[in-house]
Amino acid sequence: MSENGYRSYYGRPVIKEPVWTWEIPTYFFTGGLAGASSVLSLAAKIARKEKLSRTALYLGAAADAVSPVLLVSDLGRPERFHHMLRVFKVTSPMNVGAWILLVSGGASNTAALLELLGWLKPVKLAAEAVAALAGPSLATYTGVLVADTAIPVWHEGRHELPWIFGASAAASAGAAACMFLPPEDAGPARRLAIGAVAAEGSLMQGMELRLGEVGEVYRQGGAGRLAWAAKTLAGTGAVLLARRGGRSRKAAALGGALVCAGELCLRWSVYRAGFQSARDPKYTVKPQRERLQVSSGG
């Protein structure tokens, strides 16, 4: 009940920390990778870059296949995972996301399987188109998912989080494709990775500045260390891709891997920040108290 700018009940948290486990931030990464890869694949197809298109298709399908396994594994009652699909509920970003993932994963895996077998070309093209249409939503809805909670650092970050997650998804899709392609075939993927890392860095910086005290968890504890790792890894990877990625296959593979590792750290940083924000009653009480004082003109 110390009066250092706010009051609380024995310093206890007002809200609960999430009960989610490691699968969820990992899924934020794989889901983003899947969504942006599907877009990259179709764009490469349109640009007649077959190798890039096929690589992105397989990467997207693989990430799309891992994602539901992670999500089901996090559930308290995994055998009831299908209860997500007994309703369609727009007020629940998680429910909307389950449907997006079902459409996206179904389409990208159908397309990848048909590509592998060389069967039914028109069906494959249709599936690729569906996956590419669902992809951008899959890459960004998770930002809404975390923002639509009572956790201050997530809810107050609602203007930036879908953009940050979208940029992170694009960076990981570009970087992952760079890892598996000769440099001469990976040009667009490389430029996507470099551009997205730059965009995401400035978006994160902007969010932290705008959030003020609520955003300080991104500089503290586990979330702070992960945010630093994300910046360092993705930044180094992007520089490596820009300077050597166009000539050296090894540099492209290493740069791509560094960017992907950075994007994984970024999702983990946002995830851990939510726990730290929920744990300290300061972040819940102070902004609300200030809001009341403003509205009462005091």
């Binding site: 009051r7 995994p78 879908p162 953009w163």
Partner: protein
């Protein structure tokens, strides 16, 4: 005798008469068959329960203060002991209900918010969505039977909270905590009637000069549309562990979906730019 045009019901918890006996906690545990979840000594006055959780649906808070109970100089001492029985607020605009992806959380014919335990799959989204930190996942074992092969867990894994004794309401009884409360600190009834009663009580306490008396969650215009279970408090909400200005997160959801649409379009534009931006 069930009728389906019920009045909305709720609780008015008047903390000015709470004596901290915890009969509500015990009655709730007994009636709802809530498992024992260990004993810890917090050292925080008489509160060894700590907080609402999957295994605690009524929680009595204790606050010791160097403040006079009344402000009109009637000779009362400069010390007071605040006690308050916390419970799920059964919000008018309930974030838990909105974000639940399975429809396990629903609004009953009594206007209360309840988790259907046969539907909940333990996704945990409602836990950080609640602005009061009411909902929680139960980690205790559900049964002694072995869990379902491969996908099963030993822990219960579902989310639990106050049901406002849905089963008792169905049978025409008041909730167990209100029934057990010896001082009528916990009052059950039609919400409109409780609000009128609370207004009268507040007016009386203010006339008598009670320090800090105010109603919390009575206002239907607040960030959650008013509580189905509201309170008369004697200090700021945060002193009892409440958020001072709770707002349902889904109020901003349309805006968030618009942000997402912009970001999704940016992903497409970014990918296209990566193809157009190369050497020709």
């Amino acid at each position: 005798m069930t009728t389906y045009e019920q009045e909305r019901v709720g609780f008015f918890t008047d903390t000015s008469v709470c004596i901290g006996c915890k009969a509500c906690e015990v009655a709730c545990k007994e009636w709802n068959l809530i498992p024992q979840d260990g004993q810890t000594w917090t050292g925080n006055s008489y509160d060894n329960t700590g907080e609402l959780s999957a295994n605690t649906w009524r929680h009595v808070a204790f606050v010791e203060q160097e403040k006079p109970l009344r402000t009109n100089g009637d000779g009362s001492t400069g010390l007071r002991w605040l006690m308050e029985s916390d419970v799920c607020k059964h919000c008018t605009h309930a974030a838990c209900l909105d974000v639940c992806p399975t429809g396990a959380l629903f609004r009953t014919e009594f206007g209360t918010v309840v988790v259907q335990q046969d539907i909940c799959n333990g996704c945990g989204y409602c836990v950080p969505a609640c602005p009061f930190g009411v909902l929680d996942k139960r980690h205790l074992p559900a049964t002694t039977d072995p869990p379902p092969l491969l996908v099963g867990r030993k822990e219960d894994g579902r989310v639990w909270k106050c049901t406002l004794c849905y089963d008792r309401l169905k049978g025409g009884h008041e909730p167990a905590c209100a029934k057990a409360c010896p001082t009528k600190s916990i009052q059950f009834g039609a919400l409109e009637e409780l609000r009128a009663r609370a207004d009268d009580r507040l007016a009386k306490l203010q006339t008598e000069g009670w320090n800090g008396a105010h109603l919390y969650g009575r206002d239907p215009e607040d960030g959650v549309g008013g509580f189905g279970a509201f309170f008369l408090l004697l200090d700021d909400p945060e002193v009892y562990g409440f958020p001072p200005d709770p707002v349902v997160s889904t109020a901003k959801l349309p805006q968030m979906y618009r942000t997402m649409a912009g970001a999704a379009a940016a992903v497409v534009v970014g990918v296209a730019a990566a193809f157009l931006g190369g050497r020709s």
